[in-house]
Amino acid sequence: MTVLGLRLGLLALLLAAWEIAGRMMNPLLGVPPSAVLPSLRDLVLLRSYPDLPASLWLTIREIATAYALAVAAGLGCGFMLGMHRLIGGAWGPMLAALYAVPAVVWYPSLMLFFGLGAASKIAFGFLLGFFPIALAVLAGIRQVNPQLVVVARAYGAGTVTVFRKVMLPAMLFTLVGGLRTGLALCVIGVVVGEILGSKAGMGALINHAYGLLRTGDYVALVLVTLALVVGSDALASQLERRACRWTE
């Protein structure tokens, strides 16, 4: 109860500060929450942007595709590098070095390769989501206590059983953490990709509202996108809990 109270308190304080600051600013630039509400209503009732459902759906599809690709490639790559000592030793450091490069530098070339449509957004979301997943697999494999593998073998476990009963549970927390971070970064990648240049999707709407100085609509669109991000993370944490139950 106290926690909830403190949270709501902070939220109310921030909104009040925003309201006061918004009223003092140029109305073209600053929008107080009281002015956002009508914009949000117009947005949800499809008055300001009738193509909101299509845009939202496109962005969700781009995120889902990017994430599916990132999970598949991240897990595949991570396990290949982690299970094979030579390959891991040779290529693992290269992977970590690539992760350190600010991914946004690749975006122009992705646009050149994949065009202005959904493909370049998916590619960018994939690029951002792939690294934390692959690196989490690598870190997870390193965390497995080798003695546990010896014990399992002595008790009759073959390769598949060792993987299922020892490796996977031992690395689960790291792995699921990586999958969650990967999802968050996929969302960021897709939305940023749309904002940097696109014809459709939430990012394109945000760009449009922002470009025309329709600040109220802009803030309302950001709020909808925020809801999408928070929703996807809630879904991920649900899966995380499922995974933890499964190991028991």
Binding site: N145, Q147, L148, A154, Y155, G156, K165, V166, A170, L172
Partner: protein
């Protein structure tokens, strides 16, 4: 007494970055049913390697190991259960879940393996700790869970690789008494690796003294004293002196 375990001319060489190391050279040993055989030797004399070969975890370069009439060619948990110095408990499993691990791998139905494991907790002294995780247990308790995991298999042979090596002196003595009690009740054949003279004399029906690397069996002694043994009896003091003179030389060689 028939021989349950036969080791014949076993050798093992490891290749390390600083060149090859002979861990075992031409080791032969036979152990009868129901014996408590201790392998006593200085650190790094290949005792653990020998146990690994018997457990099917380490392939021998030469010679052969026969367990219960069959040459060892891989882990065989239905005949041989192993306890390691590092208990190697699964941290995400509770005490009872760790104990039933081997049965789970053998496909024993959940209810039956849970009953076997639960029945073991009493003699293990872990009845009140069934639902605890390894991190909540003391060192001695953890090792008892590991021993329980081995006993749950109900294999004829128990291989123990310095199981009390990481415990403090008092716990070690108590665990020895406890193990003796378990052994006399279950009549397992035990091969017990240690570098403690006290453990060897207190527990075994047979002591095999190993040489420093490359490991060989230097001498094998049969101990016939009644259990529980008093470490102060004249016979024990004499045996202790004899074993010490055998092992002292090897320990000195190992230190060089």
């Amino acid at each position: 007494m028939s021989d349950l375990i036969v080791i014949e001319g076993v050798s093992k060489r490891y290749v390390t970055s600083s060149g090859p190391v002979d861990a075992l050279r031409d080791v032969s040993l036979s152990v009868g049913v129901g014996e408590f055989c201790t392998l006593l030797g200085p650190s790094g004399c290949g005792k653990s390697t020998l146990l690994g070969i018997l457990g099917g975890l380490v392939p021998a370069d030469a010679g052969r190991a026969v367990v219960d009439g069959r040459p060892v060619d891989g882990p065989d948990p239905r005949r041989v259960a192993t306890v390691f110095q590092d208990p190697g408990l699964f941290p995400w499993r509770t005490t009872v879940e760790n104990v039933e691990f081997g049965l789970e791998l053998q496909g024993v139905p959940a209810q039956r393996r849970r009953r076997v494991a639960t029945d073991l907790l009493g003699p293990l002294g872990l009845r009140d700790f069934a639902a605890k995780y390894p991190r909540e247990l003391s060192g001695g308790m953890r090792q008892r869970v590991a021993i329980g995991r081995a006993l749950a298999l109900d294999a004829k042979i128990l291989l123990m690789d310095e199981p009390f090596g990481a415990l403090d002196e008092q716990t070690r003595v108590l665990m020895g008494e406890w193990l003796l009690d378990i052994w006399r009740r279950t009549r397992k054949t035990v091969i017990f690796v240690t570098h403690s003279l006290h453990e060897a004399l207190f527990l075994s029906t047979r002591v095999a003294v190993m040489t420093a690397r490359p490991g060989r069996i230097k001498a094998a002694l049969d101990l016939t004293m009644e259990y529980p043994r008093s470490m102060e009896s004249a016979e024990m003091v004499a045996l202790r002196a004899k074993l010490w003179s055998e092992i002292r030389e090897e320990s000195l060689r190992a230190m060089r």
